[in-house]
Amino acid sequence: MFAPRLFGSGKIRGGVHPDGRKDATSDRPILTNLPLPSRLYVPLNQHSGDDALPLVRPGDRVLKGQLIGKASGRVSASIHAPTSGTVLAIEAVTMPHPSGLPAMAVIIEPDGDDRWIEIPTPPDPFSLDPDVLASKVEEAGVVGMGGAIFPAAIKLRQGRRFEIQTLIINGSECEPFLTTDDRLMQERADEIVEGTRLIRKIIEAYRAVIAIEDNKPAAIAAIQAAANKVGAIEVMVVPAHYPMGSAKQLIQAVTGLEVPAGKRSNDIGVLVHNVATAWAIQQALVYGKPLLSRVTTVAGACVAQPQNVEVLFGTPIEHVFKVCGGLTGVPARLLMGGPMMGQILPSLDVPIIKGSSGVLALSKAEVNAHTSSPCIRCARCVDACPMGLVPLEMARNSRADKLDAAQEFGLRDCILCGSCAYVCPSHIPLVQYFEYAKGELADRRSSQQKQEYTKGLIDARKERLEQERLAKEAAKAAKEAAKAAKDAARAAAKAEKEAAQAKTQHPESTTTSPADNCVREEQP
């Protein structure tokens, strides 16, 4: 067993220092109790994994907090009604995704009462068994709120199977513009610390560290004060350095360890949860409240009143902008998430989902996009890569569809953080090359799998047809044999006794399976 260092150096490799632009929102309190939109579009898949199964029909009345989508499949999460109202339809709506493709959603017309379903007062969570707590987190539909949207309960259960030395609560919100975690830590520090203690109890971690970047002094002070009240929770200040908020980088900064390629952080005894997830887990375990809303940063030069708002899932983004004073101009980019890793939105008609850490309407100057020019091999991308990869070679090979070579140069380890493209003087869309190559590789894997699967089906069918043919032949032979035997018996009986007492028997029950029919029809 190797001895992990108690503290990391706080340093990560490469990385960049993008202009934070957090001042516009970091000092303004979270706006809660937004006016309800006229419709909520609650997608049945707001997490990584399979769709939740809808439990309601059009016309049903639902109450706030009522389970409307049940987790189904190996990786999935429950969905709850964000407010009380009537289910209008369950149909495909455009998702907050650059493809603009639709996915199934429960469309709810709020009745304006915002009436909660009855929630029994939960027992003291610290007196409960860890497995019970994990199930409660699962029932509340909590997913990783930092962007990974992986169901939290699954991660907790995985953590229980390993010896976790260090639980890291990620307060290193490194994306420019975003201040949701910052505000949450400033305003709900006690809840986050309690959530941290609960997670720690569930996974039985030796240490719990809340890691916060040094550009958030107010959050550090608030969390430190809250942690001092209970003790045993460490607060670690890490340098503000993009992508510090990425789990792999934060683990390196806090523990000094690297997560081995292709492994999970569990394997080195570390588990990372986001501060917003800690808050959601605390709400679920202490108050029994399912996850219905999240804090989202609304910012960018094209937003009249940039601020953090607590939004119900399913709220259209247009409504969110309206609450913040509307758009002041035509944005150059409309994003969900931060500018470094966020995704372009296809329209304003898409809903806020569990992973929406921010909605940004950026001006041209903030985006600073240019048409790309050829690579001059300056290797600034190599220096900026926090994973120690060679982005320029990865892009060159991806462009030539030499995906194996691209993998070799690091595509397999790429976390798509965008540091390389951020510093590229030729404005080459490196990340898009990587996204393309990763997508192509996934396509190939799945078509390879399908090919193997259908090949198996063909072989199975051939074998089945062959067996059916043999069975038929055998049956035919048996029938003939039986007939012959019967004839012989009959003859013998005739010969033995004149007084005939014939006992007839059906030699065989006929099969009527369609497959059998098929064989018969095929063989004239």
């Binding site: 898949n45 998702m95 995704h97 650059p98 493809s99 493709l101 996915a103 048409t371 790309s372 020019s373 050829p374 991806s398 462009r399 030539a400 569809d401 030499k402 030729s426 080459i428 869309p429 898009q432 090359y433 996204e435 393309y436 990763k438 997508g439 192509e440 996934a442 396509d443 190939r444 894997r445 799945s446 078509s447 390879q448 399908k450 090919q451 699967y453 259908t454 090949k455 089906l457 063909i458 199975a460 069918r461 369609p514 029919n517 098929c518 029809e521 095929e522």
Partner: protein, 175 residues
């Protein structure tokens, strides 16, 4: 000078001739083992979408160079690339691979005659007599045998539709 030129020319001629003879004398008359290997890589559903009468002839045509490695729609890009690798063809010269297709049954026209699912080499169609049939897309290779078998002309082949899980970014336009 002249001698050197003559000697070199003569050597070139003789050696070249020898090589040519050798290639004839030692030509492999056996079945090309490569054809067998390529055939094992093909889907094996004998669907004929490549325009050849089955995977065996297709493998032969691919090895002989009369069919492109991209000719197999069920195999798609992945197969084209592994074939290219096997046959030492530059991947970047491939061009677009045939797109995988899926059979789709028009529910309004289907009479439940059961002919399509009997024809399906991968058992990808389910249904019963006088009942609407349905295609299991995970098992469908787009081989089009059901299309030919359907007396109502109610089966068509369509390119797979994209979903949020299968969509991915396109390659950026080159600078």
């Amino acid at each position: 000078m002249l001698t050197a030129t003559l000697v070199l020319t003569l050597m070139g001629l003789i050696l070249g001739g020898l090589l040519g003879l050798a290639s004839r004398a030692f030509a492999s008359n056996d079945d090309n083992p490569l054809v067998k290997e390529v055939e094992s890589m093909l889907p094996g559903s004998q669907c004929g979408q490549c325009g050849l009468p089955g995977c065996g002839p297709a493998a032969e045509a691919i090895v002989n160079g009369t069919a492109a490695v991209t000719c197999c729609p069920p195999g798609g890009r992945a197969l084209a690339e592994s074939l290219a690798k096997k046959l030492d063809i530059d991947i970047s010269t491939l061009g677009a691979a045939a797109v995988p297709q899926l059979a789709v049954i028009n529910a309004e026209q289907c009479t439940g005659c059961t002919r399509c699912y009997k024809a399906c080499p991968t058992d990808a169609i389910v249904g019963a007599s006088k009942q609407l049939h349905s295609v299991i897309s995970a098992a469908c290779t787009g081989c089009s045998q059901c299309v030919a078998a359907c007396p109502e002309d109610c089966i068509s082949l369509q390119a797979e539709t994209l979903s949020l899980t299968t969509w991915h970014w396109h390659k950026p336009e080159a600078a």
